[in-house]
Amino acid sequence: MKKELNTGVKSTWCPGCNNFMVLAGLKNAIAKELEKSDKDDIAIVTGIGCHAKLFDYINMNGINTLHGRVLPMCLGIKTGNPNLKVIGFSGDGDAYAEGIEHLIHAARYNADVKYVVMNNQVFALTVGQPTPTTKLGFKGKTNPEGVKLSPLNPIRIMLASGASFVARVSSDVKQIEWILEEAFKHKGFAFIEILQSCLIFNNINLKEKMYLLEKEGHNKGDMGSAMKKAEEFNYDSTDKIPIGIFYQKEREIFEDKFKQLKDLKNKGISWKDIQR
């Protein structure tokens, strides 16, 4: 189906923010995905932070939910209606600080949910505090001595937790559109990190260090190679940042493991349609 995705709501992102690219890539990918079906069958979930404003800028059903709780909300929507396509969005605070436990379990459950983390390595909406992926030494008003605690490597966490699709891209419209298409084709939990900058609080250019795994002949079916590639960038300092699909291997999805949900899927209905 065709659907007007613009909401006409005036954006409050800073002029030139990387988030505009993400939104453009997302709209393109969603428009393509909607064409495949005659139903408005995509739901989006956003957390709290700058990223979450995209909920107001795209005309989609779903929920702009609590900080850190995007993934259980996505799983709940899938459980309520396994026929919906569900995309969750988080920032790095949302995904790696407040909601890290859900991230690990979401990878383990492998529901057919697409999850996009817009990682600018800083809390921007609360004006510049460090997140779990902030560089060592980063200074702000809440940490005047600079960040002393080592950053997490979410790609490694996702690989270790059993995510069936693990990718990282830059905030480039074409790349985002491409990776979302790949994620939609993948049956299972897809983790996509968009490594971007914040023009105000973390204005660093990582793009020039990035190289595409797909051009290097990386074997995305091999966990060992994926782990090695994940270790090339530790979110602190580096010469090279691999982007593209680190790992992809389908396995049985959450919705197919439970008879009740499988039945709903097979009949193309949700619990809402069951009158008792």
Binding site: T7, A43, G76, Q260
Partner: protein
């Protein structure tokens, strides 16, 4: 007539199954039964006990005395308990079922019928027969033709939720809420709904809200500590207007508290959970039949008004077995939710976050109006009940699982019992009821008497007389009766 039997034995040796089997045998024999369980936080090794009270009239509590002690182990303390002691080393639990059945002159066939519902029938039958032959009839009970069911609050809550059209139930294990999850998990295939255990209570409540926005009738269950973790999301259900039913089975806190004992210490968090101002309903059923009926009201009101609806219970009601006389009336409800744009922010009619003062004010006023409408509609339900001597000038007022002990305690006293079922909203008629009284006593299973504070807040009436128990145990009717008599001072 009342007979109190105490069954104790090491966890793992099956004292609980023994109590349930013997309870069902007495039920089929035509007697009212009440069984409460006392167990610690252990799986094997510690001593579990089951207190069974048997009567020819309706009872819903135990007395603090033992007429017959059944001990699965020999213990020198046993000599000091009860008029009759049945103890034997090295026998299986159903041996004792046989002895108990014989002691009360119950036909063996009644026990045999119950044993057919368990596994290992041949072994159990042989053990029971041996016990039956080893004992003599001492307290002969005549067979009576009364049809009763022996049920606990968790079983009827599950039944109520299923009859109300439950679609999805999410929980993280926590005593004493897990007994409901076990009931639902066992029935989910036959009745076609879905039970899911997630990584923690925060995931549980958020996933339940996710299912709810797709239109599913969604419910969660937990105890105090887990509930504390859920309250942020429940606050969101207030602003985003998402229906959710919450089964809160409380236990003594604070902290991990006393995990396997009972308490009514959570009324305040259940009334005041979540930041911000938004409508909610809080109910506290007092017995298994009410637990089932309230469940229907929970789904009806939460769907209609898109609000969180809490059912506050505790270990005593969830896990004690009651003789149930009548079938519960569970009202039907529609599914009222369609997937649209929901928001944890204050939002406009398109689901877009807003900071516009006019919209903020309008949204808040809409929620306040909803609160008034809910209060008005709740008056259609039994928000409170009057028990005991209805024209008495003495009243005891109580809520939740104390109902059983209170009703048994006042059955022969000049006392009216006022049972509050809806704690939020609070019926406007209760004040009139209280004003008619000369003497009012609040009875609660807690230390700070939140019911007194609630009554003061809602009616302006300050009640000084209180009977409070806060040692992790429920009230016993004989002790409670004496305390009530002392408070009303010779009036009865």
């Amino acid at each position: 007539m009342k007979i109190n039997i105490l069954i104790k034995g090491q966890a793992g040796k099956g004292p609980n199954i023994l109590a349930k089997i013997i309870g069902n045998v007495f039920t089929k024999w035509g007697y009212y039964i009440f069984i409460s369980r006392d167990y610690g936080s252990f799986i094997r090794g510690g001593t579990n006990s089951n207190q069974i009270t048997i009567s020819d009239k309706l009872i819903m509590s135990n007395e603090n005395k033992t007429d017959v002690l059944v001990s699965l182990e020999k213990n020198e303390d046993n000599l000091f308990i009860g008029k009759k002691v049945i103890e034997k080393e090295g026998e299986e639990n159903m041996y004792f079922a046989g002895r108990l059945a014989k002691l009360f002159g119950i036909d063996f066939e009644f026990l045999e019928e119950e044993l057919k519902k368990l596994g290992h029938f041949e072994d159990n039958l042989a053990n029971a027969k041996k016990g039956y032959d080893d004992e003599e009839i001492k307290f002969k009970l005549e067979k009576r033709n009364i049809f009763l069911k022996l049920l606990n609050g968790a079983e009827t809550s599950a039944e109520g939720a299923i009859k109300s059209g439950l679609d999805t139930y999410f929980a993280y294990p926590m005593t004493p809420a897990t007994s409901l999850m076990i009931e639902l998990a066992a029935k989910q295939y036959e009745k076609n709904f879905f039970v899911l255990e997630l990584e923690n209570e925060i995931a549980v409540v958020n996933a339940a809200l996710g299912a709810a926005i797709t239109g599913a009738k969604s419910m969660i269950g937990t105890s105090g500590g887990g509930f504390d973790l859920m309250t942020e999301a429940l606050s969101m259900s207030g602003v985003a207007e998402i229906p959710i039913v919450v089964y809160l089975a409380s236990r003594p806190g604070p902290g991990t508290g006393v995990a396997t004992y009972t308490s009514q210490g959570d009324m305040d968090i259940a009334r005041h959970f979540g930041h911000g101002e938004f409508p909610r309903v809080l109910t506290a059923p007092g017995d298994p039949t009410e637990s089932e009926e309230v469940m229907g009201q929970a789904f009806y009101l939460s769907q209609k008004y898109k609000i969180p609806f809490l059912i506050l219970t505790d270990k005593h009601l969830a896990e004690s077995l009651y003789s149930c006389e009548k079938d519960a009336v569970v009202i039907k409800s529609q599914k009222n939710i369609t997937l649209g744009r929901y928001n944890s922010y204050e939002s406009d009619e398109k689901g877009v976050a807003t900071e516009n003062p006019e919209i903020i004010k309008k949204n808040i006023e809409n929620r306040l109006r909803k609160k008034e409408n809910i209060a008005w509609e709740c008056e259609n339900f039994e928000m409170f009940k009057i028990h005991g001597k209805k024209d008495s000038k003495n009243a005891v007022i109580f809520w939740g699982s104390t109902k059983g002990a209170v009703l048994d305690a006042i059955s022969e006293l000049d006392v009216k019992g006022i049972q509050i079922i809806y704690l939020e909203p609070f019926s406007s008629k209760i004040a009139d009821e209280l004003k008619k009284m000369n003497k009012i006593i609040v009875i609660e299973n807690n230390a700070t008497s939140p019911l007194s504070a609630l009554i003061a807040e809602k009616t302006g009436i300050m009640i000084k007389d209180k009977i409070l128990r806060y040692d992790g145990w429920p009230f016993f009717s004989d002790e409670l009766r004496k305390e009530i008599e002392n408070k009303i001072g010779g009036n009865s």
